[in-house]
């Protein structure tokens, strides 16, 4: 499953690592947009198989952040 961002911004920090088993609602990433830090939460349970961004990256609306298996 692809977790996408619905908002453009700068990745402030990635809070999960490849291999982590995560639950629905778990904080996976902090995104800074317009000087506001927003949490990105996982929409489902799963295992992190790929992280498509790192701290400091600029992401646009619709970009894939994390892939869950």
């Amino acid at each position: 499953m692809e977790i996408k961002t619905d908002m453009a911004g700068l990745v402030e920090s990635v809070l999960v690592a490849v291999g982590d088993v995560i639950e629905t609602g778990q904080k996976i990433l902090l995104l800074e947009s317009m000087k506001t830090i927003m949490e990105v939460n996982s929409p489902s349970d799963g295992k992190v198989i790929e992280i498509k961004c790192e701290s400091g990256d600029f992401v646009d609306e619709g970009d894939i952040l994390v892939i869950l298996g």
Binding site: M7, A8, G9, E32, S33, M34, K35, T36
Partner: protein, 445 residues
């Protein structure tokens, strides 16, 4: 050397400064980054310089070099970015440039909030009961007990409401202190925090001051800024609905005293917290032009940016205290790219259609043009609608009309929620405090 100003900023304030320079017949240079290439401040200036560095507005050395290269003799910092950076003010001076703002010394003295509190106390300006720097949870708990809960944990290097936490009791204090220290470290590069008494129904009322290089300092009345969400102002007005002449004189004198204490020149704002008994306490001084400065301009008739520039170029203050009378009423609504239905989530994106309010006695300060992309890289303020009326009732009516006529298509903004607030009985009656907006929002969502 003839005058020429570099505007070291972006957004609506850059546009505001550029317009003022044009009125004063001073050539003006703007700077911009990739994200701002279509912004109004780029096309309005006489010259515009592109900066490759995404963080260019924060790069003092680059800005000074660009000012020198383009033959400028002065730099206007606007607000935010380097406006309250004493090192930048100093560097400008060292490079032979006029920094359109106060001295580095004044910025420094007021920038360290705790030091400023002490200075104010020593000068007889009332301050909110509070603590010194908090070294540990243990010493913090002792200080909090002495002040009495609830207490606010504030960043010593902070401002603009960031890095503030409210602890209602001991348990919350232990939980919130590390979080406040961390946020302060991230936002301001220092984890130093201190405590202040938290008031239940405070109002935020600030006084505009202006001074020259010859020791003349006056105040220009108050701005009521209690309509806030998470300590970010959303609507401001002048005068305040709770102000009277005697209190204005007292708070105005205290603000002038505060400015005199740090040898202030230029435009500045002394922020006060006012309790239900109308006692007032110094909060902090912002050593720059404020976002909400237009409401003061509308009721006093003076152009604050123009005065700022004249003072920076060494002219004596042309206004005397007796020249200041607040005529009528002015309100400002901040138009932020935020969606109030989604907890004020930022809404960067494309402006598909834009039609500013154009009725009489209304003004819009903005950098918007149709087709511009609002970037997520900067704050969410995309414009300000300001109106004037003979009295508060008329100002509210004119603001309703202005917001009804304004069209911003493409991104949700704060305009609809502010329009709704203008119909709220408590707001209309002027019965609100700093916590009112957040309570009211819960009733409408």
């Amino acid at each position: 050397m003839s005058k020429k100003v570099l505007v070291a900023n972006r957004g609506e304030i850059a546009v505001r400064v550029i317009r003022c320079c044009k009125v004063m017949d001073i050539p003006v240079v703007s700077v911009y980054t990739e994200a701002d290439k279509d912004s109004l401040h780029v096309s309005l200036a006489d010259e515009s310089i592109f900066m490759e560095d995404r963080r260019g507005y924060l790069n003092g050395d680059t800005l000074i070099a660009l000012a020198k290269e383009t033959g400028c003799d002065a730099v206007h910092p606007g607000y935010g970015f380097l406006a309250e950076n004493a090192e930048f003010a100093d560097k400008c001076k060292e490079s032979g440039l006029i920094f359109i703002g106060p001295s580095a010394k004044s910025i420094e003295a007021m920038g360290l909030k705790l030091e400023a509190r002490k200075l104010m106390q020593d000068s007889g300006v009332p301050v909110v009961p509070g603590s010194g720097l908090i070294e540990s949870i243990e010493s913090g708990l002792a200080e909090a007990e002495a002040i009495g809960y609830p207490v606010m944990i504030k960043a010593s290097a902070g401002g603009g409401g960031r890095g503030i936490r409210v602890a209602m009791n001991k348990e919350q204090f232990c939980e919130l202190l590390p979080a406040a220290q961390k946020e302060s470290e991230v936002a301001f590069g220092s984890s130093e925090v201190y405590l202040e008494k938290y008031f239940d129904k405070p109002r935020h009322i600030e006084i505009q001051v202006i001074g020259d290089h010859f020791g003349n300092i006056i105040h220009m009345g108050e701005r009521e800024c209690s309509i806030q969400r998470r300590r970010q102002k959303l609507l401001e007005e002048s005068p305040s609905p709770v102000m009277n002449e005697a209190l204005r004189d007292k708070m105005g004198s205290a603000a002038v005293r505060a400015a005199q204490t740090v040898g202030y020149y230029g435009c500045g704002t002394v922020e006060f917290l006012v309790d239900e008994e109308m006692n007032y306490y110094f909060l902090e001084m912002n050593t720059r032009i404020q976002v909400e400065h237009p409401v003061t301009e509308m009721v006093t008739g003076f152009d604050l940016i123009k005065e700022q520039i004249k003072i920076a170029y060494g002219e004596p203050l042309s206004i005397k205290q007796q020249d200041i009378t607040l005529k009528g009423w002015s309100i400002e609504c901040r138009i932020n790219a935020e969606d109030h239905e989604k907890n004020f989530k930022p809404t960067p994106g494309l402006i598909e259609r834009f039609y500013p309010p154009m009725g009489p006695w209304s003004r819009m300060d903005t950098y918007l043009v149709e087709g511009i992309k609002i970037t997520p890289l900067f704050d969410s303020l995309i414009g300000k609608v300001i109106v004037w009326g003979h009295d508060r009732k008329e100002a509210i009516s004119r603001m309703r009309l202005a917001l009804d006529e304004m069209v911003i298509d493409g991104v949700p903004t704060t305009a609809p929620v502010l329009r709704k607030l203008l119909d709220d009985e408590e707001f209309i009656a002027g019965r609100f405090d700093n916590n009112y907006l957040e309570k009211w929002l819960k009733t409408i969502l």
